[in-house]
Subunit: 675 residues, 2 copies
């Protein structure tokens, strides 16, 4: 006899036993669990029923390859013919709206029904089926009896239709294979827009056949050929992902002006910008030749990029070149343009016409929202949900990136809390529809092909869940538990977010003996926001091979440490076990701190973290002393606590743009010894 | 006062102190060490003097980038103008013979002279300078005072002009980025030929515009476009590496016949071969249309690949299709062709004419050496030095691959011992000149983009040294010491030979908890020669994600264990320290073996190594018992030794195509307890 039981998502998350269903990320809209179990063995066969096309077949082939990779089974090649002998039936109703070019409002829903006998994935569109195949892969589990898919009924669709990742390839160029593996990772967590930030002060990364000096002189030779662009777009399309290009103007445009100084608001000559920051060079919005140029160039790009949207940037233009240019000032006076905002609005209006002529919708950063902006332009908000809501109230579509700046090294929990449409939103349902979703932004001042994966993943999976799953899915601990599972699965797609760390540590230490350094970097993080550059200035040409580059955001060890400290201090008898694990961690810190000294002496590139190595020992030692007080049940002296707190203050100082993230927990231990 | 002292290579290697100079690989022809020290700091500047061109400038730029990556210094961009302020002067006399296309007999020599004040690298050619730049990078060292280049005079040139790596991209396809990173690694150890094995029964990997059915039907879509081929050739040229294509005919040709069955010796139809092995399909050497086809195709390829040589394979054609084809038999009778060897010789003669017409030299495997073969054809010997010497005596140029089959998982020491021109060679100096060098062969039945690097590196660096350094450089222990250093340096080029292992173990265990599995794989190796397929049959479509794929050749841990056992047994009082390290290793084995059990229960893909996990515990336990006898100085009983030997016999059995490589050393410990 079989007992089926239904669990709401909330129940699944609150319930204590670790169930397979909890490993899904993003969590589906609705899920029903039963006790069935579909064995996955070498006889595995998949069939496509209903609509079938090359894109679906390729997706199924990739699915099978990954299933083989995980199980180390060789399945018989080809699709199943006999339904009776089929393990997984993929039933697709039709190609969907975005058959040739993925579209914003594609139906991405799917259903999964798994019984002892068979798994059925059904979807109204190919993209829906592609989303569902990722869920099936995430359902794969194993135990002593073998691999299996658990009995489950899932009905799923996204909360928001626009779920993107911006990759800035301008500050640092990324080879095509980096983009491709990140597209695979995006598909794995059901993201559907690659926002390709292609031009910046620091680089012009797309081949223009109309104006070849743009990429030839603006890129140091690091640009994508049009063939490569097409290849990336096709790769994304196969995964149901839109590719939206951004050409950031009129500011952020230095690299354009290297080859075409005549477009600038000051005479030039210009060189590619090597520093991070906001710079003056801007296109001249008062000259007709600039619009003629943009007309030709953007028409070329509109033909190259099939997506309905084109992002024109529009941010952070302070207009200083405009202020100093008498011709521009005269033009403004003559036309009655009252300030630089109005001048940029005028520029955008002209731009909009070019885009419309090419059948493109315009989107730009907050700054483009000026009174006279037509309602069919979308707003990309780096400012926040308030700005987004204001735009929605006025009738503008918009997406959120405030809260999703993954380059700023905040923990996933913080990104997870940012909701494009928060529970306390006062928008009417009609207004709320204008909030299309959001995008994680991988600004690339401090990433290379070696490190970019670790800055994007796994944290972006938490953002993907925020944008896909129901609003009430907010359990941070459960998110982190599932994030670790997904992080590991992403490696099968070639992502280097985990494996490159040891490699970078080996390069720094110059031997395989990286244990002590690994212990150090496990409890430190790069400093947040824009402090890295302030504390450790570099340029776009500098090597990103230092300890700060090898150190990951969102320390797992610190989270574990904090969790154990909180549990132990809340109920010591119940969490005795944690005391010994905490003691072990603290002892490791002390040992590692000491062991790092000779390594640092041999490796000058480690010198900048020498104070951190010392402080690691101090943290370990102080924490162990606190644990001893707590074990003995003897209160510490106020002098000891004062001295220990001073040590913590000292250890809180960043070095090499790195800081400890375990200090609040050690402080808790110190404080607790006073009771 | 400065004291200079001269050390011969041999002295450097025999002398006990670990000197920086010992980290070079391949070791240079001659080296003089002094006490100078050239500091490398942020003021580092490089100048090019004498001849300069784009290739040299690009090589210098790559050099600087790698130096920055290791030191984490940002050097001022651009080349030095003032010699007084220059750290490294690269003085190049001219472009060399292979300015546009690298050539066989390029002068690759260089000199390095490093003093307290400056480093001078001088070379007659750009390729010589490129080789020297790699040596300078290998010289980089560091200590408490900072990074530095040691004072040294080096005069270096290769022993053999042909130092190659064959990469088989037919059995398993490799993306362009895999080839590029391997070209970088080749350049790092001064290899100069990429032998690109492009066609096989299992795949046709090059785009033919003349006969598109070849790649369209013979490759599953996995082929290189002609643009990609040109890109790879240009990348190799920049590094002074020739790219020689191989089109293996008349056998090994199944994939050709899928699209063009009319070329075959049996009517077909044909499908791409999925199994490993030797297969019957062969081109029909008796039909004029076959030669017409080859004329057009090889002319197309001759234009695409600029290298002077074209490899026509010619191996392992057993002629079974020929035997069964009455028309071929009639043709042979009519022409007086007495057997299949003679028929293939006839085929080769026709082929040679096509190649000569296209200005190409022909090279093929041993089998092509038939009595009437013209003397300007070169022999590629998989048979061995005797065959090579025989060819040389007859006046044929030749290269060696016997001894360099890195796909067979033998240790580097074995490859290192294979010399194309061994000390006992009886060739005259004139004959010896026909021995051009050798090639490591990466046959690709059991490698993917995830694992190929670990099958090539670091072992191929030992082969590179054999082909570059003087014959008398043969110290195996020193080779292994330097190999570990070079292995680490190769990672900066993106090579994944080290970092992919943990990733693959994580995928198998499905958590980050890979410690016990890592301990197991550290002391096992894949079975050697062709036993993997016999013991664990798979096809070209099977997943290569099992434990055998994650396990590396040439176990470092086993080498360390053997070294310590030998030292300890030879002189226990002197090597007391090793007893505790041995005890620790053995204890780790026992613990890991036990800890693996629950992991294996959760992970069905590990089931095949369950007996190995048990045996790992047995090895640890037995070894510890032996150590205890030796510590106590009490002889063991014959019964214990007998029982222990039986355990070793049992543990010697391979499982999952994996076997322990520490058993001989454990046996030594057991045996020693009897004394």
């Amino acid at each position: 006899m079989k007992t089926n039981f239904v669990l709401s998502i909330l129940l699944v998350m609150i319930s204590a036993p670790l169930s397979w269903a909890q490993d899904l990320m993003p969590l589906p809209a609705s899920i029903t669990v039963n006790k069935d179990r579909l064995a996955i063995d070498e006889s595995f066969k998949v069939a496509i029923r209903g609509h079938s096309d090359a894109r679906l077949q390729a997706a199924v082939a990739r699915f099978v390859k990954r299933l083989e990779g995980r199980t180390v089974y060789s399945f018989a090649p080809g699709l199943a013919v006999d339904d009776q002998l089929t393990t997984l039936i993929v039933h697709c109703e039709g190609p969907g709206l975005g058959k040739d070019v993925p579209v914003l409002n594609e139906n991405e829903s799917y259903r999964i029904d798994i019984t002892d006998r068979q798994a059925l994935l059904s979807a109204p569109t190919v993209v829906g089926a592609i989303r569902g195949l990722e869920t099936v892969l995430q359902l794969l589990n194993s135990d002593r009896r073998g691999f299996f898919l658990p009995g489950v009924k899932i009905q799923d669709q996204p909360r928001f239709p626009w779920r993107g990742l911006l990759i800035d390839v301008a500050r640092h160029f990324e080879p095509v294979e980096v983009l491709k593996r990140n597209l695979d990772a995006m598909a794995a967590v059901k993201l559907n827009v690659l926002h390709w930030h292609l031009t910046e002060d620091q680089g012009f990364r797309v081949e223009s056949k109309k104006f070849p000096k743009l990429h030839q002189l603006g890129s140091d030779g690091n640009y994508y050929t049009q063939e490569q662009i097409k290849d990336v777009i096709a790769y994304a399309r196969d995964r149901g992902i839109r590719v939206m290009p951004e050409f950031d103007i009129p500011g952020h445009a230095t690299s354009w002006l290297v080859g075409h100084p005549e477009l600038g608001s000051a005479p030039g000559p210009y060189t590619i910008e090597r520093r991070p920051g906001i710079f003056e060079p801007a296109l001249d919005p008062t000259r007709e030749e600039v619009y003629k140029f943009l007309d030709v160039f953007l028409s070329e790009m509109a033909a190259l990029f099939p997506d309905a949207y084109m992002h024109i940037g529009g941010d952070e233009n302070e207009g200083k070149q405009w202020d100093r240019n008498p011709a521009i000032q005269a033009y403004m006076k003559g036309k009655g343009i009252k300030d630089n905002h109005a001048l940029q609005a005028y520029f955008n209006t002209r731009l909009l016409k070019i885009l419309q002529k090419n059948g493109k919708k315009m989107i730009g950063w907050d700054e483009i929202l000026q009174p006279e902006l037509p309602k069919d332009v979308a707003i990309h908000s780096w400012r926040g949900t308030a700005a987004l809501a204001e735009a929605a109230r006025k009738g503008y579509d918009g997406i959120l990136s405030n809260g999703y700046y993954i380059d700023l090294i905040f923990p996933a929990s913080q990104h997870y809390a940012a909701d494009p449409l928060p529970a306390d939103s006062t928008l009417t349902p009609e207004q709320a529809k204008h909030v299309l979703g959001g995008e994680a932004t991988m600004w690339a001042e401090w990433v290379t092909h070696e490190t970019i994966d670790s800055r994007i993943w796994p944290r972006t999976a938490a953002i993907a869940e925020r944008l896909w799953s129901p609003r009430h899915v907010t359990d941070v601990n459960d998110m982190y538990r599932r994030l670790a599972v997904i992080s590991l699965q992403l490696e099968e797609l070639g992502l280097a977010h985990k494996k490159n760390q040891d490699m970078m540590l080996r390069r720094l230490v110059r031997t395989d003996d990286i244990g002590p350094l690994r212990t150090l970097v496990s409890v430190i993080e790069p400093v947040k926001e824009y402090r890295r550059y302030q504390q450790r200035p570099q340029t776009m040409l500098s090597p990103l091979t230092g300890v700060v580059d090898a150190t990951l955001p969102d320390s797992e060890a610190a989270r574990r440490f904090a969790f154990m400290v909180d549990a132990f201090l809340a109920d010591a008898p119940r969490f005795q076990l944690y005391r010994s694990e905490l003691g072990q961690m603290l002892a490791d810190w002390q040992t590692a701190g000491a062991a790092l000294e000779p390594l640092i002496d041999r490796s000058p590139a480690l010198k900048e973290v020498k104070p951190l190595a010392n402080n690691l020992s101090v943290l370990g030692e102080t924490g162990m002393e606190a644990l001893t007080y707590l074990k003995l049940g003897v209160p510490s002296t106020p002098e000891w606590r004062k001295a220990s707190e001073l040590k913590m203050d000292e250890a809180s100082k960043p070095y090499g743009a790195l800081e400890f993230v375990v200090i609040p927990s050690v402080r808790k231990l110190i404080l607790a010894t006073g009771k």
